[in-house]
């Protein structure tokens, strides 16, 4: 790129406008924009090499051909046609991919509703009811620490509680509420949703809390003084002002659940099909173009959801 700034960088430092200040006398002084490049460049390179180029490869490979054991770099729509196989022929019944996405969206919706409810009230408590800064810090930290520990461990931690002979079942049997242990507690949709909520409510709490602590407390007092009830203040003052946090948290939770295959795999006993799991299955079968095609579909759907949500709020302004 031969922009005017690049040309200026090649010029002797004395010629660069804006660097003619007192200390510019030193000949080795680098121009500010060059320093910015040095500072931000390495991170940009990492994203380029390990995120942006890989995404391009996903799109390219999704249009390649394949056989049982290798990639064939020739244009083919097979990755996609294999994925949508039977979608028209089987109508009005849903094909596998449609059913899988329906299941993923259902899990997504359930987890979103529950994490939003829990996250909102936990953040509300921390932001408005905990008055002392030390307590606020301590309790926020209490919510954050599990995030720094292993997700798999937090998943398998449910096994001794929800299993056939787990605490919940044996407790219920002992109290006589049920005769047989409940089978749907573990390795089921229930346990998947429970584990996802357990793991990812954190992503809802943090942004909502961030929005809430920024709310000017005098606005709430003003609402009370003007005669609003607690409920009216909540709906008309707090929720609108906390909306950016709610949207950011929702984007996090929804995109995580859309692409999840580990929690759904472990907690669903590898029996529940989901968007992320299809990709994993295809990779394990070495069908990379089909895996890539599924990744592209997942990416497009995730992107649509995010665009819809970011219409509600400008993410960049809120950080």
């Amino acid at each position: 790129m031969d922009t005017s700034e690049d040309i200026l960088q090649q010029a002797p430092p004395g010629l660069i406008p804006g660097s003619g200040t007192a200390r510019a006398a030193k000949p080795t002084r680098l121009s500010p924009s060059f320093i910015s490049w040095l500072q931000a460049g390495p991170m940009m390179l990492v994203f380029l090499a390990f995120f942006l180029i890989p995404l391009v490869f996903v799109v390219i490979v999704s249009f390649w051909d394949y056989n049982e054991y290798q990639l064939l770099p020739a244009f083919s729509g097979r990755g996609y046609t294999d994925t949508f196989e039977g979608c028209i022929a089987q109508l009005p019944d849903l094909c596998t991919i449609a059913r899988t996405y329906l299941m993923t969206l259902k899990l997504c919706f359930l987890v979103w509703v529950i994490t939003l409810f829990i996250g909102f009230w936990v953040a509300y408590f921390l932001a408005f009811h905990v008055k002392s800064k030390t307590w606020q810090m301590g309790l926020s930290l209490l919510c954050t620490i599990p995030f720094w520990t292993s997700n798999v461990i937090r998943m398998i931690a449910w096994i001794p509680l929800l299993g056939r002979n787990g605490l919940v079942n044996s407790g219920l049997v002992k109290t006589g509420l049920i005769n047989q242990p409940l089978e749907w507690l573990l390795f089921s949709e229930f346990s998947v949703v429970l584990a996802l909520v357990h793991l990812f409510t954190f992503f809802m709490v943090v942004p909502i809390f961030n929005s809430m602590v920024r709310i000017d407390k005098s606005l709430i007092e003003a609402a009370y003084d003007a005669g609003a009830t607690g409920f009216q203040t909540l709906v008309n003052v707090i929720i609108p002002l906390a909306k950016p946090g709610i949207v950011i948290g929702s984007i996090f939770v929804i995109t995580i659940v859309m692409g999840d295959f580990i929690t759904i795999g472990v907690m669903g006993g590898q029996q529940i099909a989901a968007a992320g799991k299809i990709i994993e299955t295809r990779v394990n079968a070495l069908q990379f173009p089909a895996a890539a095609a599924n990744a592209v579909i997942l990416l497009v759907i995730t992107f649509l959801i995010i665009t819809m949500m970011s219409r509600i709020v400008d993410i960049k302004k809120e950080l």
Binding site: S36, V152, I153, A291
Partner: protein, 292 residues
């Protein structure tokens, strides 16, 4: 004014306590269960108390080659931590001025955070497979693979830790008073001196926070490693592999050992941050504390 706390406080306090129990309860359950007696099973009640299962892990007679996976994860975690801290601080400094490609970097970071991990992981694995094929076709037929812990694995982890590092840097510099740095420059400090002696000491507690994120996110990372790590496994991958097959409490013992490392790092980091903050409060500026 009403006296005391409103009723909603108590309702929400109970709600918060229940949430905390929900967060920690199951974890504590497996920490306890990893001390099962030798005859103990996967669930309560405990069948005696022993360190049998934990000892078994370290003897290497257990389920996985714990030592090798442990060392690999630790090495990767430390490298990821160092790279994350250095690159995040540098990029965070850059964002204090306007520069071209600023929004490209910002949106790359955000996208890297929210694009599903499996897609990033698949992309990296495709990228390295294609590189391998190119090397085999053009340079060296016997070439094995360029995929590995410290190539594709490191890259995959960085796409997860760097966005967090960058966002933390934004939070730091939102609160940072640029006049402190200007004062240093007015007193004749070079840009490097101003950074080294003024900016860095002030932001150091948060920088340690970035290191904490860098290490713990890498130490526990799973989804991005899954396709991109190459032939060897990290500790979380081994643990995940066990969830479908294991019938002994060794899986809990492994979980407890992994968590023990996490908690050690968390404690060390939070302790250091606390000490640094105290020192800053004690020896820091006396501005605004009245006239002499």
């Amino acid at each position: 004014m009403k006296e005391g706390r409103p009723r909603s406080f108590y309702v929400l306090a109970i709600f918060f306590a229940a949430y905390t129990l929900f967060l920690y309860g199951p974890m504590i359950a497996i920490y306890v269960l990893s001390f099962q007696g030798p005859q103990g099973g996967l669930t309560f009640p405990m069948n005696g108390v022993s360190t049998f299962w934990i000892a078994k892990l370290f003897q290497g007679t257990g389920i996985v080659d714990l030592g090798a996976a442990f060392r690999r994860s630790l090495l990767l975690g430390i490298i990821v931590m160092i790279v994350t801290v250095v690159l995040s601080v540098a990029a965070g400094m850059a964002f204090r001025r306007k520069f071209k490609a600023q929004s490209i970097l910002f949106y790359s970071a955000i996208a890297s955070l929210i694009v599903p991990s499996i897609i990033t992981s698949l992309g990296i694995s495709l990228e390295f497979r294609i590189i391998d094929d190119l090397i085999k076709a053009h340079w060296n037929e016997n070439f094995e693979t360029s995929m590995g812990l410290l190539t594709s694995g490191l890259g995959a982890h960085l796409t997860w830790t760097l966005p967090f590092g960058l966002l933390i840097m934004f939070a730091i510099f939102n609160r940072f008073d640029p006049r402190l740095e200007e004062a240093a420059r007015d007193l004749g400090a070079t840009p490097w001196q101003a950074f080294r002696h003024v900016v860095l000491p002030i932001i150091l507690p948060s920088v340690i926070g970035i290191g904490l994120f860098g290490f713990t996110l890498s130490w526990d990372e799973l989804a991005r490693s899954s396709q991109a790590i190459g032939a060897v496994n990290t500790l979380p991958l081994d643990l995940q592999g066990l969830t479908t097959t294991v019938t002994n409490p060794d899986i809990y013992a492994l979980g407890t050992v992994i968590s023990a490392v996490s908690f050690t790092v968390i404690t060390l980091a939070l302790g250091t941050i606390h000490v640094l903050n105290k020192r800053q409060a004690a020896k820091g500026s006396d501005a605004g504390k009245g006239l002499v």
